[in-house]
């Protein structure tokens, strides 16, 4: 009889602990789905939800604050997304907050990301609608990439023609690279310019010593120094 009572108690403990484990599991799963918390509803209307599903997370400032509860097609170009959001975060979500559809990593699930609004706006109410940002459509991105690719191919084909001309000595740059006479002439010109500049320098030195121009040049120097001082003061202030 004693053994039988012990067995019954053992059975009772076994079943209770097993059921408790099950209930704890259910509770934790439910908590993620915001079943046992105070929530409020926010809705947003998107053109395209990019595969969002009921049960996907809603993020605000990078924190999971709710789940997508319902998705309904309203017209051919608009889809209504209802979200259940934790009551505690309501005070941070302003009327001009914007909802966007993002994804959790490269292969992750879709989710709704709510961007915070401005401080001076009032807080959202239950069943409010917030504005949305159209998600980036991969088809648009691909179309843009295609235009970029076309442009790049045009540019490279032009570049190919230019480099070919240069190599064949066509045009000014081509001549510079390939025509030795032109290059020598250019070298002689540079030497001439250098000599001319030296001569000019000498003339200017002589002129500054002549009494006719000395006064004028000194005055110019003084003015320059004054301007410099003014600039320094300005920068210090």
């Amino acid at each position: 009889m004693k053994k039988e009572t012990g067995n019954k108690i053992g059975l009772g403990i076994f079943v209770s602990v097993g059921l408790a484990l099950f209930i704890v599991g259910i509770y934790f799963i439910g908590q993620r789905q915001q079943l046992f918390r105070n929530t409020f509803q926010l809705s947003a209307i998107f053109k395209d939800v990019s595969g969002l599903q009921p049960g996907n997370n809603v993020r605000f400032s990078g924190i999971n604050v709710g789940v997508v509860s319902n998705i309904t097609q309203i017209t051919d170009t608009s889809v209504r997304v209802d979200m259940q959001i934790d009551e505690h975060t309501r005070r941070f979500i302003k009327k001009d907050a914007r909802a966007n559809i993002g994804s959790d990593g490269l292969m992750g699930n879709k989710l709704v990301v709510i961007a915070p609004g401005t401080d001076n706006q009032s807080i959202v109410k239950d069943n409010d609608f917030i504005a949305t940002v159209s998600p980036i459509n991969m088809d648009d991105v691909i179309a843009k990439l295609k235009t970029m690719g076309d442009n790049a191919s045009n540019i490279t084909s032009d570049l190919a023609v230019i480099t070919k001309n240069i190599r064949n000595g066509k045009g000014t740059v081509g001549m510079l690279f390939t025509d030795t006479v032109f290059a020598r002439n250019l070298g002689v010109t540079v030497v001439n310019v250098k000599q001319g500049a030296q001569g000019f320098n000498r003339n200017m030195n002589a002129a500054s010593k002549s009494f006719l121009l000395r006064g004028l040049l000194k005055k110019k120097d003084k003015d320059d120094k004054k301007d410099e001082k003014k600039d320094e003061k300005k920068t210090n202030n």
Binding site: G10, L11, G18, G25, G30
Partner: protein, 266 residues
Amino acid sequence: MKRLIPIDIETNLNRIPLLSGFFNAVSKLTLFVLRFFKEALKPPYEFSELAKQSYQVGNRSFALIAITAFIMGLVLTIQSRPVLAEFGATSWLPSMVAVSIVREIGPVITAVIFAGKVGSGIGAELASMKVTEQIDAMEVSGINPFKYVVVTRVIATTLMLPVLVAFADAVALYGSYFGANLKEVVSFHLFFSEVFGKLDFSDVFPAFIKTFFFGFSIGIISCYTGYNAGNGTEGVGKAANAAVVFGSLLVFLVDMIAVQITSLFT
């Protein structure tokens, strides 16, 4: 009126012993199941015997199931890790292991081990009772043997297997946590928030409901093989063997049907 066609089928079937044997067994099993429901619903109820049997099949199987579940979680984690590491997705390990344990591996492996331990036990016990004419003795002394022996055992397996699966899932997830920590450091909190972050009610409830059917199938098939055992000690061995073989087979059949039904709704 002539009964040409039925007689023809019967005589033709009798020429193929394997096929006729199969249909014979199916009809006997169906009657056995119907009789179970009839006896189970009719008072008086043998609660004390039910508690005793539940202790036998539940508590006594706990250690075996827990060890197996722990190893299962551990091994599954270690084996899945390299594949996920190839994609750089080792952070998905807890959720992936959790979904496979809770949805499929936990219930099925537990049920198969349960069929091996409890099914063979019931099959052998009932067969030896039959062979030693204890069942006949019960009838003589005014106890309904079907109610006392079969009904209590089948209800016990039906109710205890889901509890064992709940334990097995929990222990397997702990084993998986242990396995994840062999190669990297994952905190308990992070691991289990990943696990519960991915699990959904649609993962838990269908898996939980099918375990009742697993338990019922194992119980009824073991009792059937034991209750209809042939004469002699050979019959006992055959009954125990058949209980395990058909019990395990039935678990997989029920699982296949359960997955089909679940996929209809999700």
